[in-house]
Symmetry: C2
Subunit: 326 residues, 2 copies
């Protein structure tokens, strides 16, 4: 097929996004639908197919123009089997045969991948990592996810647990409990959820410093990580201290990956990076203090470029890899 | 060349070992020479060539039978350039063009690799990892080194810092200083040196428990990690506590790699594993408590098989890969 096109689909807990990209990773069109996992997995699978169809329509095309499909999902999974096992963000789904369902519906080569891994491949193929040979992505959201790309290889692991970067243990003496139930995981320190939790703790301490955050706790949606970053930028000392600690924790995560994988580039993605370059500079300052001199000097530490499109663009790249493998 | 043979050389701070292996990783003969780095790098390079020649003689062969050579060294290095930069264990060497020197001396394809990476490839090709697709090796000695093999790929990193597994940070609140000058590295907790250091601290504590170790501090060669393991096996409570902590630290290292790389197998090698299976069982117990259920259940946690031959056998495998790449 000349100038093949690909559809990628990224299924999240709240929304699913699908998009059509060309052979160079250029986005032609995308759509977003509510996931509504609570309606059950059969409607969920049908909705995935609908998102794929709608993206193709939005690009002014028919399915005949599509060479392959890729689907990325969160949660525990068996990547080679193409199955989501027991995804915490997609209750009550269990043992959902995503790849075979989509492949059968469209009669097209269909790839299946973890969403963090797909996002990393998206940034590698069409985003901030276009010109590098390898990268490690940290995705900062409710949790901390990730992906590792070496050459064209997605390090998905032998048991579909590769690049669970939020669950490296970085603290022993006084570990915080992580959402996964374990103790001392990076995620327990650097996710948006943990940032708010630490802020609430500090605000609750007797004799704690005055902070603009105190007035925000009573908001309808409660205190958010965004509030903390906003107020830190306005010079609030407590908020600034919290942000500085996040920068340190992320730098520890980056440094560990620089001493384990030693990639060309470490990328941070997710909502938290919207705060801007000043936060990146803080992370970089700590990385330069922590890591070995050569990787500290040469590894590019950057923010992601594709935003929430990275997942479906990377999923499309997984579909594209199926053809390249033939 | 039918039935090609390979020479591997592993240069250590004290001795260098060279061996001839066949195309299946079977060892034909090996030799060991004192490194004597203090005599300077020119004599060092000549001695490397001598070790290679002697290994071939020991195998009853001539260099004509050799298809490729691999050399592994410790220290900071530029792997693609084939140069040791500033190796702490090979003073006063600096910027030593190992690969080009050896390649020129023998007019043979010559590979160059970090010693931890080579040992991992050795175990993967001809040792405990023969039947797996991927493995992570921790080498436990004066320091903690390592290697990562994914498929046939050695994860050497973009700046020759891949698999510096001793320098992942596992502690923030109360970090020990590592030999590298950083704080909280795995090596500061799990190397043989750090084990002795912790024992000495515990023995020096006021009101510390009685221990058989107290009598061993005055030995000519001082207290060793081996003493601590020996005494722990005899039921000494303090020594047993120290060994149990080492098992926990190594399990944390293993778990982190299971959540980052998710290999088929995690291998521990080096002097410390001579203590035997009871120590492996301790590590496995902690891994099963710490890691995610699927990798905890399925990842093989094992001791290395090749002992101090792993480095040169892996170096030979690197030489062999040069031919496979053509």
């Amino acid at each position: 097929m000349k100038n093949p096109l690909f559809v990628g689909l990224d299924v999240g807990g709240t929304t699913m996004k699908a998009g059509v990209v060309d052979n160079n990773g250029k986005l032609l069109a995308s759509v977003s639908l509510a996931t509504e996992a609570h309606r059950g997995q059969e409607p969920g699978l049908e909705r995935m197919c609908e998102a794929i169809r709608l993206a193709v329509v939005a690009a002014g095309l028919t399915m005949k123009k599509i060479a392959a499909i890729g689907v990325a999902t969160p949660g525990t999974m068996d990547i080679p089997a193409g199955i989501i096992l027991d995804p915490p963000n997609l209750k009550p789904w269990r043992n959902v045969p995503v790849r075979s369902y989509v492949a059968k519906a469209f009669q097209l080569p269909t790839a299946f991948q973890n969403d963090g891994n797909a996002a990393a491949l998206g940034e590698f193929w069409a985003g901030v990592g276009r010109d590098v040979h390898s990268l490690v992505l940290f995705t900062l959201g409710t949790g901390v996810g990730g992906g590792i790309i070496l050459g064209d290889i997605v390090v998905q692991g032998e048991h579909s647990h590769g690049a669970e970067l939020g669950h490296m243990k970085i603290e022993m003496t006084n570990p915080r409990q992580c959402g996964c139930g374990r103790w001392g995981c990076l995620e327990a320190y650097a996710s948006a959820t943990s940032v708010v939790k630490r802020a609430m703790e500090k605000l609750g301490q007797r004799g704690g410093a005055k902070s603009q955050l105190q007035a925000m706790v009573g908001k309808v949606d409660g205190l958010t990580a965004k509030d903390i970053f906003d107020v830190a930028q306005k010079g609030d000392i407590l908020a600034d201290k919290i942000v500085d600690e996040i920068a340190l924790y992320l730098a520890i995560g980056a440094m560990n990956m620089m001493h384990i994988i030693d990639p060309d580039m470490v990328v941070f993605g997710g909502g938290m990076i919207k705060t801007g370059d000043w936060f990146l500079q803080r992370i970089k300052k700590y990385v330069s203090e922590l890591a070995f001199p050569v990787p500290a000097e040469r590894t590019k530490i950057v923010f992601a470029q594709l935003g929430s499109d990275a997942g479906f663009i990377g999923a499309a790249a997984c579909g594209r890899q199926l053809l390249a493998m033939k």
